[in-house]
């Protein structure tokens, strides 16, 4: 049966969630046309995969191009779910949100589409932020809560101006163009995803362990790969009790255990990416958008 290429989206985004009834609807909304600047509904496909939630299902907004799938007894790592999403994605450019609790800033899709035109094999990354006053792993010490987070979002009238997320968030990096170990909103061309074979399911622990840093490294090692950073965009983590983001002790244990496993698998330490790459700013891709 011939593929109807006429109706193919320009970009697909694969979003993975687990017990994120509160957080996922915001993330999905933030990726939709309308919130995303300069994007028509037909440009975009969102493939949302619930990785076996045990709590109440998320009530998702009605959005053109949204496909929501509930996986039945999937492996605990999101790698399997991501790869299922990649198989279904029809866009030539595909983004992956390994953590469905991350709200996007409004120019990510336009920026990724622009970046995709700059190179044969772009590795397009976005900086990671945490909503609130500090890293959510330290939220107990800072008395940060979901209720406070909800108030912060109300305080900036989100989602009316998504760029105000920067006013209520803290960067996970020293700077958007600085060293980083992973990107939680990463876009590659479909051919690159195919060449990589998606995420490595050897990272089989809940949360995926170092699957995401590993993916970034392997992508940058592809022939002709060029790093492009959307330095004025971001993904903003909502607190939700994730594997690596709940307590300081949990974060340290995650980093130690995952780092040791990564070294055993890859024969080199997990480390930050230090190359700067091409830095794209909003003026590069939003200037023509009214």
């Amino acid at each position: 049966m011939p593929v109807n290429t006429a109706s193919r989206p320009r970009v697909s985004v694969v979003v993975i969630s687990f017990n994120m009834a509160r957080e996922l609807p915001r993330t999905i909304h933030s990726l939709s046309a309308g919130y995303q600047l300069g994007i028509a509904p037909a440009d975009l496909e969102i493939i949302s995969l619930d990785n076996g939630s045990t709590e109440e299902p998320a009530k998702l907004p009605s959005i053109p191009g949204l496909v929501h799938l509930q996986l039945d007894q999937p492996p605990p790592s999101p790698s399997f779910a991501i790869n299922e999403g990649l198989k279904r994605a029809r866009g030539d450019l595909i983004g992956v949100w390994i953590d469905g609790a991350r709200i996007a800033s409004p120019g990510i899709i336009a920026g990724a589409l622009h970046a995709a035109k700059l190179s044969e094999n772009p590795i397009i990354t976005t900086p990671n932020y945490q909503l609130g006053r500090g890293h959510h792993a330290a939220r107990n010490a800072l008395a940060y809560s979901r209720e406070e987070e909800d108030e912060l979002l109300q305080g900036i009238s989100w989602p009316s101006d998504g760029y105000r997320l920067f006013d209520i968030a803290r960067s996970e990096m020293r700077s958007p163009d600085g060293p980083f170990i992973e990107s939680n909103g990463i876009f590659l061309k479909k051919a690159a995803w195919t060449e990589l074979g998606g995420y490595d399911m050897a990272f089989d622990e809940p949360g995926g362990g170092y699957a995401n840093p590993d993916l970034l490294r392997r992508a940058l090692d592809l022939p002709g790969a060029e790093l492009v950073r959307l330095v004025e965009e971001g993904t903003f983590h909502q607190c939700h009790g994730g594997v690596s983001t709940s307590t300081e002790e949990g974060l340290i244990a995650f980093l130690k255990r995952g780092g040791a496993k990564y070294r055993r698998l890859r024969g080199r330490p997990a480390s930050f990416v230090r190359q700067v790459g091409t830095l794209l700013r909003k003026r590069d891709y939003l200037a023509d958008i009214a």
């Binding site: 340290i252 980093l255 130690k256 330490p269 997990a270």
Partner: protein
Amino acid sequence: MGYSQAEIEDWIKKYIQSVLETNSTALPVDCEWTDLGVDSVELVIMAGVIEDDFDIAVDPHLLVDYPTIRDFSRHLATMLNRRT
């Protein structure tokens, strides 16, 4: 099995060279981690790899208390040799 401070220093230097993706043999052992360009997250990861390789628990806060390759190597060698 015991380890000398020099052996530990050599292990850490090779590890840091790999993290920084440099072949420079001139990695100063008296420079603080941050001045070497190593991020605190990478230090926590290194603590996990040390645990894996040397079969010893390493509190990453020790890397704050002993902030150079030389200082930390000396302390780790003492820890390792104390248990033998």
